[in-house]
């Protein structure tokens, strides 16, 4: 919410506080100032590298060069039809100024004015915003000639002064503006843009902010006048009250107090619709509201002033509607009720809206008039011809208003406040304040009394706070008197009894609960007003809880470390995808489906981690080499219950195996065995032994001849292999094969690790190569198994270093060449090594028909 400092000053003396001081105090107390926009007041310059505190914008006004001036004569420009020449007095001298402003143009050639017009006058050299530029461009006013007439100064629009975007005409100041006074002094301002958090809704108004500032500074809060009938402060005139009491003309029926706890109405007669005083228009614009007319402005101004949204009905329209239904009493009956499903109302934005029973209506006996708390109806809205106003101030159910505003997409200043809760006590104050402003600005007469039906009062709870509570929860020592003093500043009614304070919630806020909740609510207020910055920083004295760790998380992090050490890059993907995207890899019938996706391609939660990963490979397909992994959850639907969220990990590799360099020209691509090598290292890093790899057809997305299933202790934990050519085609991949793996992380984690190590012998090993020719059908795993089994403990390492096929060996045969390492707890003799070798060869001959290759 935007708060002009000038407005704030109506309610609190801010002498001695800079704009930044004010912003800092509010920010620390939970009214975060997002930005300070200067419109005239001096701005901090930050020349000397001082520390910044707030985002700032806008301009300061030069006190010498920008002054209040009065136009005394309006002449024609000798050479330009669309320009006028103004003779004005700036307090010291007469000046001639050129303008094309449309709101002066009608006076062109009038000559001497009967009544001078007060304007904002900028002399040569003034820094201003360029009124004709797009957006905000600073410029310096320079002497020039326009169509033969010298121009060295100007009368300003709001845009030029940084007040608003308005550049339709020049500013016409109020008649009482003192000629010659620096403009900055007369109406220099700064606007605080404050974020209002939900439990601070009571402060979404100028008095609310002033009250907070008063509490934070210990200064006095001045209150707006709303004593209809007594003297008003601003004009010094009486807001005239006379005529028949509104209670004789209007009655109110509330059908559901839960939806409408209170309804207050007042009447003002014989108003004249015209623009509001300029200073009011300026304040409204600074606050972000467009001025319309004195009556509409009064409802908005009162709302921004004290926080109560109001609605003005054209009283005569209501009277004629009474006549239309043949009620001769002319007494208006206002009824509030839930709308009927399908009921229609044309709102004042001209749209016909279809309502539901979730919406509340303000009606008369003829029918609906307004959508309660959200938007008025078109028929009874205030027009230029309106003479009499019935002013509504009501309290509505915040949940209902919130739903209604959402349902009809009607966010407004009124629904913003109502949907966060406005205390019903404010309804009466709002109507009084609104009537007061209308009388002052329109010359109308306020009818005596108000009609007021107040059926459901809030609790305004009384909370007991003890010095012990303050110590226990805030960690500071305050006396009961101090606590009471802090809360009293926020208008809590406090009574002190020894070490406890009974604090009654003031009737403008709904955020204080009861019991333990109320205590927390009130303690927050104590802390805020005391100052968060004054509460000390201490280290916890409470005992350290049981240190249980999180083995599952630690294990996952370990797996991540191993994978990155193997040169595989981690990625993190969107959890949301679409069945179409996933079905390129694997099709599923059921998904965890979003009811409100942001886009069709992100409408379900992923079921395949590998599918996510392949999309990332696809996005990076032009990289010369890609190795990626992801660890994360997939989502398995569970009817109308929570889904299962198993953890998976997936790897994908494609492209060059070796990083190219200026003298490295290896162009081999990653293949099945690159993946297998990494998986072997990963599994051994996770200390998993008894791992087996078997051909599989369980993953249809894999090449049938280049796919393997991985088991640990006989339990399947994952699959890997080359992507099936038909699957690969569906992606935008480069030529080299894409090798993928997908593992069930939970199964892997549940496999029992083996922590033993093989002793490192001090005796020299015997190294030996052996090559055997076997049938193609004999797997390497089988041969290796036989070697290990036969060699026993002495064979400590078996490494396949070559697989060879050619005609000499014979069709359907292959040669497998191994490095064997023999190691014993003594130095092995050649004879001993030869004996083992013979044993191994014989076993291989016998079991798989192997022949030693010479």
């Amino acid at each position: 919410m935007k708060i002009p400092i000038s407005w704030l000053k109506d309610y609190i003396d801010l002498d001695g506080l800079s704009v930044e001081d004010i912003a800092r105090k509010l920010t620390l107390a939970g009214l975060e100032v997002d930005e300070i926009k200067y419109a005239g007041l001096p701005m901090p310059t930050y020349k000397g590298g001082e520390k910044h505190e707030f985002k700032t914008s806008g301009i300061a006004w030069d006190k010498e060069k920008l002054v209040v001036a009065e136009i005394r004569e309006v002449k024609e420009h000798p050479n330009a039809d669309r320009l006028t020449l103004l003779d004005l007095f700036d307090g010291k001298e007469n000046q001639t100024v050129l303008t094309g402003a449309p709101n002066i143009f009608h006076l062109k050639g009038t000559g001497k004015l009967a009544k001078s017009i007060k304007v904002a006058y900028a002399k040569e050299g003034t820094m201003l915003y360029d009124g004709h530029a797009e957006g905000l461009q600073l410029m310096t006013l320079k002497r020039t000639k326009i169509r033969g007439v010298e121009s060295y100064s100007m009368v300003c629009s709001e845009k030029e002064l940084g007040i608003s975007e308005e550049h339709e005409g020049i500013i016409l100041l109020d008649d009482d503006a003192p000629v010659g006074m620096p403009l900055a002094e007369y109406m220099g301002d700064a606007v605080l843009d404050i974020s209002i958090v939900p439990n601070m809704a009571r402060n979404a108004n100028v008095v609310g902010i002033a009250r907070e500032l008063a509490a934070l500074t210990g200064r006095e809060l001045k209150r707006p006048t709303m004593d209809n009938g007594r003297r008003t402060k601003k004009s010094g005139q009486s807001s005239a009250v006379n005529g028949q009491s509104v209670t004789e003309l209007v009655e109110i029926e509330i059908t559901n107090p839960e939806l409408n706890p209170r309804f207050v109405a007042g009447l003002i007669r014989d108003i004249e619709i015209k623009p509001s005083p300029y200073y009011i228009q300026r304040r409204l614009r600074l606050a972000g509201i467009r001025p319309i007319s004195n009556i509409v402005d009064a409802t908005n101004y009162a709302m921004l002033d004290i926080g109560q949204p109001l609605h003005a009905f054209d009283y005569d329209v209501l009277v004629s509607r009474v006549g239309q239904i043949g009620n001769l009493s002319h007494k208006i009956k206002i009824i509030t009720r839930a709308a009927k499903d399908g009921e229609k109302l044309t709102t004042l934005d001209g749209k016909e809206r279809e309502l539901t029973s979730a919406n509340v209506l303000v009606c008369d006996e003829k029918g609906s008039l307004a959508m309660a708390g959200v938007m008025g109806g078109a028929e009874s809205e205030v027009t230029d011809k309106t003479r009499n106003i019935l002013l509504e101030g009501a309290a509505w159910n915040f949940i209902n208003i919130r739903k209604t505003a959402k349902q009809h997409n009607l966010p407004s200043e009124a629904s913003f406040r109502f949907s966060r809760g406005v205390h019903p006590a404010m309804a009466e104050q709002g109507v009084k304040r609104g009537l007061e402003l209308m009388a002052e600005w329109s010359g109308g007469q306020i009818a005596p009394d108000l009609v007021d039906v107040y059926l459901l009062k809030p609790k305004d709870p009384t909370i007991t706070v003890t010095t012990k509570d303050v110590k226990r929860l805030l960690g500071i020592d305050l006396t009961a008197k101090q606590i009471a003093e802090l809360l009293t500043r926020l208008e809590f009614k406090c009574t002190v009894d020894k070490n406890s304070v009974k604090a009654k919630t003031p009737p403008h806020r709904l955020d204080i609960g009861e019991g333990a909740i109320g205590l927390a609510d009130v303690l927050e207020e104590v802390a805020r007003v005391y100052g968060y910055d004054r509460i000390p920083e201490t280290r916890m004295s409470d005992s350290l809880p049981p240190q249980v760790g999180n083995p599952r998380h630690e294990w996952e992090e370990h797996a991540r470390d191993i994978l990155t050490s193997l040169g595989v890059q981690e990625v993190v993907s969107y959890r949301m995808t679409s069945p179409e995207r996933e079905s390129r890899l694997v099709a599923h019938d059921e998904y965890v489906t979003l009811a409100n996706p942001i886009a069709p391609e992100r409408r379900v939660m992923r079921r395949s981690l590998l599918a996510s990963l392949l999309e990332n490979v696809e996005k990076n397909a032009r990289a010369e080499s890609i190795s990626m992994f992801e660890i994360g959850s997939v989502f398995e639907p569970n009817k109308n219950d929570l889904p299962n969220e198993p953890r998976k990990f997936a790897i994908a590799m494609t492209g060059l195996r070796t990083q190219t360099a200026w003298d490295v020209k290896d162009s081999a691509s990653f293949d099945f065995y690159d993946m297998k090598g990494r998986l072997e290292l990963l599994l051994s890093g996770l200390r998993l032994a008894s791992v087996s790899y078997t051909p599989t057809d369980s993953a249809p997305f894999l090449h049938p001849g280049k796919a393997a299933q991985v088991s640990v202790n006989g339990q399947t934990v994952g699959v890997f292999g080359e992507l099936h050519p038909l699957v690969k085609e569906k992606y935008d991949f480069e030529d080299s094969p894409v090798i993928v793996a997908e593992f069930d992380l939970d199964a892997l984690r549940n496999a029992t690790p083996t922590y033993g190590i093989a002793p490192v012998s001090e005796f020299p090993p015997v190294l030996e190569d052996i090559a055997v020719i076997v049938d193609e059908s004999v797997t390497a795993e089988r041969v290796e198994g036989l070697i290990k089994q036969t060699g026993g403990k002495i064979v400590t390492r078996v490494r396949l270093f070559d697989v060879y096929r050619d005609e000499k060996i014979g069709a359907g045969k292959k040669s497998l060449a191994y490095n064997l390492t023999y190691q014993s707890e003594k130095t092995l003799t050649d004879a001993e090594a030869a004996a083992i070798r013979t044993k191994i060869v014989k076993r291989l001959e016998h079991e798989v028909g192997a022949k030693l290759r010479s």
Partner: protein, 352 residues
């Protein structure tokens, strides 16, 4: 004979002086110390000499042999040194040619930042607690003191999951890791319902908000929350703990400030700003010239939340806070587009 020996020595030493490479040196050795060298002929001829001559010639020949061997060794040393010097001079590389790369695997920047945060918290005695990503309205909102239709729900636009018959308890994607607060408190409290143990946990994980995907907003993001519950936990402890944390995270001299704020599940609530670590508070684009960076939200655990977790608010108190690792990274590395994180472009990931 002795004169002959002197001649042999003189000639040999002279020819040795001009030798500069090891091949010539070997040739010299063969011709002057080899089997058929003049010196060796003298040795071979010793037997033919008279008894009287033999000792003098013998010892003379030996002296020459020793002298030549010594000269050879010395020469050979010089030749070797010269050869080394020459090769060092010839073998220099262009050190500006690029080095040969290796494939490097890195952790995703979010993982790196999560680890940094959790590493500090682990030092401070916080245990890591993880919980599910798809949640119920009850755990994500209601038990955390967000009643249905509460305006605070506007602060967290939510993805809902299609499910029938859920009434007021729809299934949704968690909007924060806070449901884990309830899961953890209930789990801890169940171990000793009459005297629930104190809690000090960190809750990391992926969260989701219904947003348009733009440079500034994302549909998913990581969060790390901290939760402390005990019998003597105060707002002053919250300040001390989080100031300690912020200083370890952002620098020992970082100024930290606590601003009052609002979260439904904490009260009193605060937001913590740290002095902009890019400009040191002087004002820059990263802090939008405010000099401060908002880094976390926090507060004393709301009594309703304690109660819902099985901890009596009259006896226990606690504090909780939440922060976003991606936001921290964006500030630290001046990343101006949040979409980089799940875009997984290798050119982005390889910079971390």
């Amino acid at each position: 004979m002795l004169d002959q020996l002197n001649e042999i020595e003189k000639a040999a030493l002279e020819s040795l002086q001009s030798i500069t490479d090891s091949a010539a040196l070997e040739a010299w050795r063969v011709s002057h110390l080899g089997r058929s060298s003049p010196l060796m002929s003298v040795f071979a001829g010793l037997g033919k000499l008279s008894k009287e001559e033999r000792p003098a010639v013998g010892s003379g020949a030996n002296r020459v042999k020793v002298a030549l061997e010594a000269a050879l060794e010395e020469r050979s040393k010089i030749v070797k040194e010269a050869a080394l010097a020459k090769s060092l001079e010839e073998e220099s590389l262009d050190v500006t040619l690029p080095g040969r790369g290796v494939h490097v695997g890195r952790l995703h920047p979010s993982t790196q930042q999560l680890r940094k945060v959790m590493g500090i918290l682990a030092d401070m005695g916080f245990q890591i607690y993880t919980s599910r990503e798809v949640e119920t309205d009850e755990y994500n909102f209601q038990l955390l003191n967000f009643p249905p239709n509460h305006p605070a729900r506007d602060m967290q636009d939510t993805f809902f999951v299609e499910a029938d018959g859920r009434g007021d308890n729809p299934i949704l994607l968690r909007t924060h890791t806070s449901p884990g607060q309830i899961h953890a408190m209930r789990e801890y409290a169940a171990t000793n319902p009459d005297n629930p143990p104190p809690i000090r946990i960190a809750l990391p994980g992926m969260c989701f908000r219904y947003e348009q995907i733009t440079a500034r907003s994302e549909i998913q993001f990581n969060q790390v929350e901290g939760l402390v519950v005990g019998e003597n936990i105060t707002f002053a402890d919250l300040k001390g703990t989080l100031a300690d944390f912020a200083r370890r995270m952002f620098g020992q001299h970082a100024r930290v400030r606590f601003r009052a704020s609002y979260f439904p599940f904490t009260e009193p609530s605060a937001e913590v700003d740290v002095e902009c670590f890019v400009c040191g508070g002087k004002g820059c684009g990263v802090c939008k010239n405010s000099g401060w960076l908002e880094i976390l939200g926090c507060g004393m655990v709301h009594p309703v939340v304690l109660q819902n977790g099985g901890y009596d608010p009259a006896r226990y108190s606690g504090f909780a806070w939440g922060m976003g690792p991606e936001r921290q990274l964006m500030l630290r590395y001046k990343i101006d587009d949040i979409r980089y994180f799940w875009g997984n472009d290798l050119r982005f990931l390889e910079q971390f």
